[in-house]
Symmetry: C2
Subunit: 360 residues, 2 copies
């Protein structure tokens, strides 16, 4: 068995060590004679697994005590509704920043439940840059400010946190959570679909300040009310137990690697190698402003798109998988989340150089 | 490694053969160098996995072409909101039958979104029997009739399908789907949390007649609209890919065993052995009317509840796990879903006889 270098945007590569452990424990967890998948979520064993996962995430992100950590389902897309249903009172206005496809989807869903003000948009910049906060049109006393810290499709990432006084900042951190340190206390709520830096798809993690819990509108389904999850330790009904367990294994792995600071050093090295390769070449290009380039998702184009197919075929043959860009954008995209190591990026840039030499 | 006999009510036992295959494919699916968990849900490989799972379920249940099969998240509890949000127009009334804790939860959530008529309740029968349909107070032109075919906590199961003319019948089949044949055409919608007879928790399957799709109310979140799932092959956003894959392995396993007819024969033999052991004894008892006894969840009491602890300890020591009754009911409960074989029930009744001899 040879593991490929997997540049998939999501569901993304997981650490081999995590998969090996899950494999070893698949039929018989710690000699109990059953799989984690087959345990009651209310059993002592499973509750310990779930609590350890939460505790490890709290340690990794240094989550203050007055924040709840919730393990839910439905992905970030369900959060796009849950957020206004919980945090946008009727008649109030929420500010949203539009920097690409995911933040735009959040805006569209938000509008179905209340007043949404698009405080800033990268549209006029073709989403290749993020408008500076001086140009934002913020609502005084907005219910919250929503933004997406990393747009996986455009490859655009905030390297700063908006400052909006007492307005709670709600951030979709699906694709860059745990990739570098953040100060949780700057946010009202952080949420992230698991399938990039946390674990398998079907799990979404939210870190939410306690005072923001318990405000859901009457039309909010019980399962979408943050209070339901908070009051029941994310076990109002059966949670996605196996995904939660795998997330716990990933958190342990991140701790073993040295935590988010170590992840940040590795991710910095990875993106620097890849962008510098692109920038040094006339053959490859990336259109994103340097201060908004994503460390996690690196879209790039070949000088002649007729070569795209050959590039992808050669990559596949070398075990460099899932480099095709999103269908809405075209070109290539290398997603280099935590579990994709520097060795994968080195193999990629070696191939890129070789391909350029052959075809330039 | 020795696999225990697992009588957990859910997340429940999975077939050992399924777990072995998942284990073998964990790091490297079919020589591709990656785990199913690490595949894009839009890749050819994953789409084939997902489509085969749906096709196998369609075959197993003989699903007519004018029904959609949807793979969603949030469990049955989220369906308790989705159903009225999709199927109960403002001002209309839905009929619900109350036979235990799960149908009651569906009623409570339904009431948050419209008029709910409890057409029948087992409450006056202590939920030990199901009121016959002649005694039901049905609403003419109800938007739908909702019931739960098997109550996991009380151990009460319908062995018949309500007949309500043109009113769509919506059934929570979480804990008995695939356990015996059903005629899908009798239903408007069948839904089931996966964690009993389908796969791991975090996945919910719905089989819904096409004419019931596209009626969602304005307040229904996009992710909770059946049309969203139906129009996008359950991939509007990233689905619970690994859970869906495992469900597919379970469907294959059920087919290999001979389909739901074979499951029904096995399940009949299992429940007959267990109930006849209970009924033949003065030491064990089950309070449920014989025609409403569940084939899937068998609650039973010891004559002296002070012996409960010793019974459970002895069971654990013999690898007979998770026999403790639900906290709301007490006593014991043996859940004997598809993956729990006759050998497990034989081991259980042997232990029950031994324990009775020792303590009666």
């Amino acid at each position: 068995m040879k593991r490929a270098h997997n540049f998939c945007a999501g569901p993304a590569a997981l650490p081999t060590a995590v998969l090996e452990r899950a494999q070893a424990e698949m039929l018989d967890w710690h000699g109990k004679g059953l799989s984690v998948m087959e345990m009651s979520h209310r059993s002592d064993e499973y509750v310990a697994i779930a609590e350890k996962a939460e505790q490890d995430l709290r340690e990794l992100m240094n989550v203050p005590n007055h924040y709840k950590v919730l393990f839910m389902q439905g992905g970030a897309s369900q959060q796009f509704a849950q957020i206004p249903l919980n945090l946008l009172p009727e008649g109030a206005t929420a500010d949203y920043v539009e920097t690409g496809i995911w933040s735009k989807k959040a805006i569209e869903e938000g509008r179905r439940f209340g007043n949404v003000n698009v405080a800033a948009s990268g549209k006029s910049l073709d989403y290749f840059a993020i408008p500076g906060q001086n140009d934002w049109q913020l609502t005084p006393d907005a219910a919250y400010l929503h933004y997406c810290s990393n747009e996986t499709i455009g490859g655009v990432q905030f390297d700063w946190v908006p400052e909006v006084g007492d307005v709670p900042v709600v951030v979709d951190m699906s694709s860059d959570i745990l990739s570098r340190p953040v100060d949780v206390s700057q946010f009202g709520m952080i949420y992230a679909g698991a399938q990039k830096n946390i674990g398998p798809s079907g799990l979404v993690v939210a870190i939410i300040r306690e005072d923001l819990i318990g405000r859901a509108r009457a039309i909010c389904p019980t399962m979408l009310d943050y209070k339901t999850a908070a009051d029941n330790g994310s076990m109002y009904n059966t949670p996605a137990t196996y995904s939660w367990y795998l997330a716990g294994l990933v958190f342990e792995w991140v701790k073993e690697q040295g935590g988010v600071e170590a992840m940040a050093r590795r991710n910095h090295a990875k993106q620097e190698l890849l962008y510098s390769t692109i920038d040094a070449s006339e053959f490859y290009s990336n259109p994103v402003s340097k201060n908004a380039r994503s460390w996690m998702n690196v879209p790039f184009r070949l000088a002649d798109e007729r070569l795209d197919k050959a590039f992808l075929a050669g990559a596949d043959a070398r075990g460099l998988l899932n480099l095709k860009g999103h269908r809405s954008v075209g070109g290539m995209r290398a997603s280099i989340y935590n579990a994709t190591g520097l060795d994968a990026v080195e193999a990629l840039v070696a191939y890129m150089a070789e391909f350029e030499k052959e075809h330039a």
